[in-house]
Each structure stands twice: as C-alpha cells, then as structure tokens.
C-alpha cells in the first residue's frame, strides 16, 4: 500500500513538473548557454505578464459591460447603465447643488479631474425567507441586487461604495457628495487631509448631529475633550492639536482617572501585543479592571508616542473643518490650498478667513448650544401617548366582556 502511494506521488510529481515553468530546464538540450536560458525565462515571464494583463482587461470589460450611458452635469461625468440613468441624473443634480456653496469654483476643477461610475451588481441567486432556517438561496434569473459607486481623482481610485437597489436618490446624492469630499481632500495639504481622515466635509450638519456630537465629546475618554465642551477654549486647541502635537501627550490630554481606559485602547495591534507580552492578561486586568493606577502608568509608559492620537474624534474634526469652510464661503478651499503654513489651526483659519480663535469660538458656540435638553419626553411624544391611551380607554369603556 505504502509502495503504491509512493509510486503515485512520483507519477504526480512528474506530471506537475511537466507543466511547471521550471520544467523547461529539464528539457533544455545539453550545452545550452546561460544567456539563452535567461532569454527563454524572460520570454516566458513576458508571456505570463501579457496573459495576466489580458485577464485583467477581460475582467474590466466584463464589469463595464452595460455602462453605455454617460450622465453629465457641470462638467462631471458619471458612467452608468440605462436602468440607473434616471437615479444618477437626479442625484447628481442634488449633490452638485449641495457641494457648490462650499467648493465654489473648485467644484468645476474637481469635476474635470474626477470620474465616477455607477454600476449594477447583478445576481442569479435570490434569498427567500424561511421561518424554519432563516433564509435560503434560490437560483433565479439575473436581476440587479445592488449598485456600486466607484470613482477616481486624477487616476487615483477613490474607495468604492455599495448601495441598496432600488436606489434611494437621497442616499445616492449623499454618496456622491462623499466622493466629492474624498476627492477634495486630495487637494488640501497632506497633514490636514490626514487630520480629516481624507475627507473634506461638504455635507451640511443638522442640530441633532451636533447634539450627538456634544454627548460624544462630553463622555469622551480624554479629559481635554470633556473640558473643551465644558467651555475651555485652550482645551479645545490642545484637543484638536491645532498648534502642534504636545510633547507629553498623556499628561496634556488625559487625567489620572482616564488612564485605565487609555491603557485598554491606546496603540495598534502590534503595540497591544507588546503590552500583553510585558504584563500578561492578569497584569493588564490590574489596570483596566481593578483600576490600579500605578500599573496603568507603567503600561502607558511602555507605549510609543504615536500610540496616542489626536483625542478629538474625527467627527469633531470634520465638524470644525466644516465650520471653517462655512465661515470662509466659496473661496475657502482656494485659500486653504494656497496656505503655506504648517499648523492645522493656521490652515483652517486661512480657510475660514478669520483667526483660529474666532473659528474655535464659533464651533464651540454651535456644539455647546446643541447640548441635549432634559430627557423629559417631548410634547409630540406625550400627545401621541395620550392619544393612544385615550383610544384604548374608549375601547375599554364600550366593552362588554360578559357577552
């Protein structure tokens, strides 16, 4: 039996060796020079590359099949299919109207350099509900299951976004604005783009979002963020790292009581791995669960400086940048691009056309002003509840349960 297996392995090895690119070496006639072998290898590599390119082209052509329509508005072109054309046309108009007030003339420039593609994602499998086993897949005729919006800015690809089908035009318009945000972020200084998580905020914020932002900041891990929404403007400057990154980030941004949480979340996976090796699960629990602050201090001290990021969450940074763009008007982005300063605060101030202090004051006023009120139920809710109770009571009073 063992001999049989060995024989089979030898035969299979021979078969695979025959199709391997290295197999050529075994059939090369004796006396072939090294340079000839090298040429032959180069030819094989070139052939493999061409095949690879053809495969990619075939895949791209397959993905682009049906993209026969180009929707164009204000210089921006969106390639799409006949089915998706009405949605793309309507949403593009809305998105451009949303972005125009903040981007001004920059929008035309962006439009010339951007390409967008709205694709259908087809499927031949439909999920069917089953009360016993949840959902089952059933083969069906090809149908549009979803859509994707891809884009590129100066040939640099923008992240693809998936959309539900049938398309919600408001959602599609918001997604288009998000692609504008990503494209516009490529035009601002790299440090600011990174600070903004590679998005330039163009979408209007609502008061409800500001209220949620206030709640998020007021219950933040970092003391400096909480002090900021308590009205401390210097804390806001530090928390946003508007001037520069502090040398001692832990001392500048966090209080002693924040250390257990900080030690539990700071750092990337490899840095967390280092901490685990140094302290073990029990050692870490002494800080994060038992809140032994001296253990926390030792854990935090082991982390490198880069482990502690700007404490203001990205949402707050985007909100500040949006305030700057609103203050600056249509020329804000142009001023931001031409700003030759290095600090984030000075760049945003240039965009706002005001001092960074004035910008911060306006942002603080907006966010602090959106502080959620007492959690007493609102009038609409009270009236709706009373109406339901009244209906139920009326129903009960007419009831004759003895019948």
């Amino acid at each position: 039996m063992c001999e049989r297996r060995l024989l089979l392995a030898v035969v299979l090895a021979g078969v695979f060796a025959g199709v391997s690119p290295l197999a050529g070496q075994s059939v090369v006639p004796a006396g072939t020079s090294d340079s000839a072998l090298a040429q032959r290898a180069a030819k094989l590599r070139e052939r493999a590359r061409l095949l690879d390119d053809s495969l990619k082209a075939l895949r791209a052509a397959s993905a682009d099949s049906g993209l026969t329509v180009v929707v164009e508005a204000e210089g921006l072109r969106v390639r799409t299919t006949t089915t998706l054309r009405p949605d793309a046309t309507a949403a593009l108009g809305v998105a451009l109207a949303d972005a125009r007030p903040l981007l001004g003339a920059q929008l035309d420039s962006l439009s010339r350099h951007m390409t967008l593609t709205l694709r259908e994602q087809r499927s031949t499998m439909r999920l069917r509900f089953s009360s016993l086993i949840g959902r089952t897949g059933v083969p069906t005729e090809s149908y549009i299951a979803s859509a994707t919006l891809d884009g590129a800015m100066d040939a640099l690809p923008l992240p693809s976004v998936g959309l539900h089908y049938p398309l919600d035009r408001a959602e599609l318009a918001a997604t288009l604005v998000m692609q504008f945000e990503r494209a516009a972020a490529q035009r601002v200084p790299p440090a600011l783009s990174s600070w903004l998580n590679k998005r330039l905020p163009l979408r209007a914020e609502h008061r409800k979002e500001d209220a949620e932002l206030f709640r998020m900041l007021a219950t933040s891990n970092a003391a400096v963020v909480r002090r900021c929404v308590a009205g401390d403007r210097d804390a806001c400057r530090t928390g946003f790292a508007l001037d520069s990154m502090p040398t001692d980030r832990v001392a500048s941004w966090y209080e002693t009581s924040d250390l257990p949480a900080l030690a539990g979340i700071a750092g990337d996976a490899s840095q967390r791995g280092e901490l685990y090796r140094a302290f073990g699960a029990d050692g870490q629990a002494q800080c994060t669960v038992q809140r032994q602050l001296d253990v926390c201090r030792r854990m935090v001290a082991l982390l490198p400086l880069e482990a502690f990021q700007v404490p203001m969450p990205v949402v707050a940074r985007l909100s500040l940048a949006r305030t700057a763009l609103e203050m600056g008007g249509p020329a804000a982005l142009e001023r931001l691009r031409s700003s030759d300063t290095t600090s984030i605060g000075a760049q945003l101030a240039a965009a706002a056309g005001a001092s960074s202090e004035a910008l911060l004051e306006r942002w603080m006023k907006r966010v602090i002003g959106a502080r959620p009120s007492s959690p007493l139920p609102n009038a609409v809710f009270v009236l709706a509840s009373l109406a339901v109770i009244a209906v139920c009571l009326g129903w009960a009073m007419r009831g004759q349960p003895w019948k």
Binding site: L127, F129, A218, T219, P372, P375, L376, F381, V388, L393
Partner: protein, 220 residues
C-alpha cells in the same frame, strides 16, 4: 367609590408593586455601585455612561412587567366571576371602567414616583462628574408614560368583548401567517406586514416608541 376601587386593586397587586418599588431602588444603586464614591475625579465617565445606558433597559423591562401585571390584575377577579359583581354596582359600566383605569394608573404612578425618588437619592449620593447631570423627575415622567401605554393596551383588550378579542387575535394571526407564507413562496422578499406592524408600534411616534429611546437617569 374611587378609594374603594383603588384599595381593591392595591390588595390584588400589592406584592408586585412593592417588588417593583424595591427593583426601582436597586436599579440606580446597581448602575452606580461599580463606580468609586471617593471623589468625582475618580469616575471613569465612559463606563459610567455605559452603565447608566444599561440601567435604562432595566427601567424599560420593569415598566413593561409592572404594566402587564397591573393590567391583568385589574380584570382577573371580575373575569373569574363572570363580571356579576361589577354589573351589580350602582354605577354605569363606563364609569366603572374609568375608575379601574384610574386606579391602575395611580398604582403605576407609585412605582414611577419610586423610580424618581430612588434615582434622585442615588444620584445625590454619588458625586457626578461636571459634565453629567441627574434627571430623576424626567425619568419618572417617562417611566409613568411608558407604563401607561402597555397598561392601556392590555387593559382595553381584557375589558372588551371576548368575541371581539378573539376576532382581533384571529385576524392578526391570519395576517401574520399569510405574510410569512407569501415570503416563503418568494412573492415577497421578507414578511412585510409584520415589519410594518412593528414599525408602526415602535418607530417615530408609535405607541411603543418610548421603549426604543434611552431612559437615562444620568445624562449630559
């Protein structure tokens, strides 16, 4: 008359109301006890906030449980005696129903007051960080409204004609079964009517929407 009805219902529901008052006292203590009481500086705000958010679910469960029990208790004795006693009373039926409802609402109010009172005391003892505030009165009002809605729904169901109740239940069951069958044979992707029904109850200003929002004793 109201005092008599209230007293009767109090006798029927006394153990449940007392238990609910105790639970109302335990919920804020449980939510705050994991925190250090030494000084405000030693609070860890995110975990405190999370703890209070979890407590809000406990308040909702308490509200639902106490509302169901009080509503069932209001009609249980009458149902067992074929409503003979209620019909022999010298008051019109609608007035008697109103009295029963008011008595139930008052008993639920006792639990709501306990929620506000215990929440206020617990928040006063615990030194809260500067950014967080206690809202015991707001919570008590929300709790009371939150209990009244399921109470009213069950109360009305039990006080109405049993034949009509059977019809309603059979109608709802038929709709649910048909809806699920349509989804199973592939006419619809998922049960739509059940989804709409639940959305109607819970979304926006639906009668049970209160149970989806957070009932926060402590908030920003």
């Amino acid at each position: 008359m109201f005092r008599a009805v209230l007293y009767t219902q109090w006798k029927w529901t006394r153990p449940v109301i007392l238990l609910a008052v105790l639970v109302a006292g335990y919920i804020p203590v449980n939510a705050l006890r994991s925190m250090s009481y030494k000084s405000a500086g030693t609070y860890y705000i995110p975990s405190l906030y999370q703890s209070i958010t979890s407590a809000s679910v406990n308040y909702q469960l308490l509200a639902l449980a106490v509302a169901v029990v009080v509503a069932i208790s209001a009609w249980q004795a009458d149902g067992q005696r074929q409503h003979v006693y209620a019909l022999s009373l010298p008051v019109p039926r609608w007035q008697f129903v109103l009295l029963r409802f008011a008595a139930g609402a008052a008993l639920l109010g006792v639990v709501a007051v306990a929620v506000g009172l215990f929440g206020g005391v617990a928040a006063a003892i615990a030194p809260l960080p500067a950014m967080l505030h206690a809202y015991p009165a707001g919570l008590a009002v929300r709790f009371w409204l939150g209990t009244l809605i399921p109470f009213a729904l069950i109360f009305a169901l039990l006080a109405s004609n049993p034949r009509r109740v059977k019809l309603v239940v059979a109608g709802v069951a038929t709709i649910v079964v048909v809806d699920m069958l349509l989804a199973m044979v592939g006419t619809t992707d998922k049960p739509l009517l059940v989804g709409w029904f639940l959305d109607g109850l819970y979304a926006g200003n639906g009668p049970l929407a209160a149970f989806l929002s957070k009932w926060m004793l402590i908030d920003v």
